[in-house]
Subunit: 304 residues, 2 copies
């Protein structure tokens, strides 16, 4: 493992039950940290911090490890793994949560393995901001911190989230979340307002409409989604975006403006695999070369 490019991720590991007009899938392996790890491991070694119950399939752990995902920081607890069940309407846009069973994740108090603590890239995937903050406080040394979140935390853990954002370098969230966070309807203004909360860079995901990149210089970049027509289920697309985005930055090793722009393209290219199946199946098949091919496809779309 090359220490310099490693990425530490904390987030959920889950068993998801998904339903939408294209079909359904019961108790498939998912969670923000899992989608992130599959995506980012196409680019760089990943160190996973999370918690699972005794019912989590061993084969899935072996699969992650075979891709260079370190699971030393994955706590195996007595009890059941975190479960989420959600459904989508025919536009496959917003998920409605049908049920949440926190199970072992409700007691998760991260205690990072020693060798995790100086990882140069830290991704705080969607999970309680208190857990994100706890992980961040256990890391040290020069590091770049990328953070994802969701509407639930913006509404119910606002204070914790705002405290966390002051220590974050790059914030990733979707259009509705940035509006909720800033109270500003116009996306361009909302993106700028989010920068004032701490992060030097903000990425706003817009689903099928791509993503926007903001830095102190304004709205820097607008990247379309990769035009896949095989959309089965969008669960995990946002986490996979984070994985492709952070993976590319870790691979390049430097936060230049050019790398940030291309990282957004890599994020979109990576996420386009995820939506082509329920669960991680299609994302598992993605390779660094396959992502590069879709990167070129996106670039072709905006050649004029």
């Amino acid at each position: 493992m090359n220490k310099e490019t490693s990425i530490l991720v904390v987030g959920t590991v889950a068993l998801d039950t998904l339903a939408n007009p294209c079909g359904r899938a019961a108790e498939v392996v998912g969670g923000s940290a899992v989608y992130f790890a599959y995506a980012a491991s196409c680019f760089a070694p990943v160190r996973l911090a999370s918690i699972i119950g005794s019912d989590f399939p061993e084969a899935s752990l072996r699969d992650l490890e075979s891709r260079g995902v370190d699971t030393a920081g994955l706590v195996r607890a007595e009890g059941k793994t975190f479960r989420w069940s959600g459904s989508y309407g025919k536009d496959l846009k917003e998920a409605s949560t049908l049920s949440v069973e926190l199970n072992v994740i409700s007691d998760f108090e991260p205690d990072l393995p020693e060798h995790y603590r100086e990882t140069p890239w830290v991704f705080l995937a969607n999970i309680d901001p208190r857990v994100q903050l706890s992980v961040l406080r256990q890391t040290s040394g020069p590091r770049t911190v990328v953070c994802d979140t969701m509407n639930f935390w913006i509404e119910n853990r606002r204070e914790d989230l705002l405290r966390l954002l002051k220590e974050v370098d790059i914030l990733i969230l979707n259009d509705e979340e940035v509006r909720l966070l800033t109270g500003e309807q116009h996306l361009l203004l909302a993106g700028r307002k989010a920068l004032k909360l701490g992060p030097g860079t903000v990425v706003v995901k817009k689903g099928e409409h791509g993503a926007l990149l903001y830095t102190a210089d304004g709205c820097l970049c607008c990247v379309p989604a990769y035009p896949t027509t095989r959309i089965l289920d969008p669960t995990g697309a946002g986490d996979s975006f984070g994985g492709g985005f952070t993976g590319y930055l870790a691979e390049k090793g430097e936060l230049s403006e050019e790398n940030l722009r291309r990282a957004v393209v890599c994020g979109m290219a990576t996420a386009s695999f995820t939506v082509e199946s329920f669960g991680v199946e299609a994302l598992r098949q993605a390779t660094r070369d396959g992502i590069a091919e879709r990167f070129t496809g996106i670039r072709r779309l905006v050649s004029f």
Copy 2:
């Protein structure tokens, strides 16, 4: 006037009453043909075919003529000009029609002036497809036909519209309209399905998310909106897109793939002026140079 680059447009000329959370404006000059004419006249001479009542402000006609808009085909009828009143919610997306007074437009039977009939570019702006078809039948010679429409005609004049589309080269419509027209929810598939109705090229406008260009080769191009933050009212943005798009093609004189891609960018750049005021005020200030500047701004957004 250079006959080769002229554009014939048929559409509505209206007095609009607009309201949204940013403000309101009463009886301002508007209509699909007017927005189109202001936009396209930045690129090429425009020949306007429509109908107005005796209450239409003379100064607005002079203003159009001063920009190279030929009004010989604009019928001056006894009675009142077509009126439309609409409002928008805080996202400024979909207009709700509050009232429509057809007035003189209900009797409009176009009879094109002789010199209009061999115009090389024909734009059928949003109006009853029967009127669009009548105008098209009165033209002859080699010409490129670009067509806009709206949900009302897709729902209430479907047969006429489908007949018209067989004679159209380029169809422009928005995301909801292409879904309504084709019955397909996924935009990429909807765009492809629309191609089967006749047009060799389809452009799907997505408001703040830009526009997509489809040809027989698939989804060719994805252009973001110009990132203006001074959005006052979106009325006429779609018609102005059509004007910038068709104007650029007329200026270049050739339907190459490269010109089509750049025409979409010009359309987005032109429309970005329109939304910066109620009515045509901001669009009136747009110049060919100003549009070129925003073209460059859009290109910068997608440089990676």
